[in-house]
Symmetry: C2
Subunit: 232 residues, 2 copies
DNA sequence: TAATCTACCAAACACTTGTTAGGGAAGGTG
DNA sequence: CACCTTCCCTAACAAGTGTTTGGTAGATTA
């Protein structure tokens, strides 16, 4: 079955909106970025992004129409374009904001003089705190990142993934070398194991649900480090 | 455009005979189920469902157009409706087939006279085998089930989830009672922990990638049961 | 040979999608 | 007051969506 692709070209899809090209060229000389000639307040932007993130997380990005977002924000679809360039740019800003804050936390952990076990504990705890803070963004990231990484616009997702993997693998390898982590395990499997167990929690975690992020982190660490079976 | 021009005569102005007119007037008084009056072969259906499942898993259900599915199958969009009622019914059949086979395996495990630890091991192993067999369906299930359960058409997903949770919680509780699982852990957290560690593997697992399902199951069980840290 | 069945194509339909353009109300500032 | 800025609305557009309808080539059967 020869699959024949027509001109869909999933990467770098530039809209063929040929006709009217913004002749009001005054203002920002910031490269080719298309930007509205007005200045919406960052506070309102943030508010709308939080609303959009919730809808994206709940319904999925593609299933979310701009009219649904506008509905949740109490306005009409077209009004969103006073604040944002496009639906996709909302998604980008949501994920970028999340990843920026995530790496703020991770970097401070990784630069601290900790042993491998303490580093792992700190990373896991930090992750649950980020889930607590950016639960919608995490849910979106998990569902959509896989097919976003092919687009050049979301290249920073790939970069983040690579840094992420490197940080975790290094920590695990140090632990094996130091004799605090078991040497008989496939280290890449262990990495995916730890990574996934942490982040999928975003799919069921609800803030204010009895367990604090630190409490959940402690329990998860207990299971990951010592297992669920009784020691004999 | 996969247009294989046959381009034969295309006879002009061939009036349809007045004899054969609208065979759709047949019965189907009750029910209201819209069904094609033809009988497509189950083999072809299965083939197309496998193709559709792959596209759904890769691009997401909502981002997948029927034209993409048809493209992957080497036909045109409308032709799919000879085999299926709708795009949604394809999704339903994919998930239902998967869950049916999954519970075939689970039920035979659960009805066996095994201790809690052996039951857990068998369930995990069985799960990885199902991931190996229905990797696309599992990926779809994980991404889409959360917002499908609200539709009455997919009620069986809720039922399956409840059986699933009950089976796992019962096994874990038996283990605690029998003293083979730790009693100091939140059992619902442990359930989600085990559940997630298993099923998220579908997002990265590729058949024929060095590890067999049973091998992955063994490693995962080793981590879940005994942890990744060295026992002191 | 004619009738029938299977599996597809070709072309359209009604609707939804993201996005744009112009306008206007509210509130501050000179 | 006039003027500007901020923020949203009304109303549309073009492309893409799932789906329907009618037709037909090719194999199978009568």
């Amino acid at each position: 079955m020869p699959k024949q692709k027509q001109s869909s070209d999933t990467s770098t899809s530039e809209k063929p909106t040929s006709t009217s090209e913004k002749p009001t060229g005054a203002g920002k000389a910031a490269g080719g970025r298309k930007k509205p000639p007005v200045t919406p307040s960052p506070e309102r932007r943030g508010e709308l992004l939080r609303i959009a993130a919730d809808v994206f997380a709940e319904q999925g990005y593609n299933a979310t129409t701009v009219r649904k977002i506008a509905d949740a924000a109490g306005m009409l679809a077209g009004s969103l374009y006073y604040h944002f360039d496009s639906k996709e740019s909302m998604l980008e800003e949501i994920l970028r904001t999340f990843l920026t804050e995530l790496w703020d936390g991770y970097d401070s952990v990784l630069s601290a003089p900790l042993g491998p076990r303490e580093t792992l504990e700190a990373l896991v705890t930090e992750s649950f705190r980020e889930i607590d803070r950016h639960r919608s963004a995490v849910a979106i990231y998990q569902k959509e990142s896989k097919h976003l990484v092919t687009q050049t616009r979301f290249e920073y997702l790939v970069e983040s993934q690579q840094r992420f993997e490197k940080a975790w693998l290094t920590t695990l390898e140090r632990g094996v070398t130091d004799g605090v982590f078991r040497a008989d395990l496939d280290i890449r499997l262990a990495y995916r194991f730890v990574r996934d167990t942490v982040w999928v929690a975003a799919s069921w975690y609800r803030p204010g649900g009895g367990h604090s992020p630190d409490e959940i982190a402690r329990q998860y660490l207990s299971m990951v480090l010592d297992g669920i079976s009784v020691r004999t």
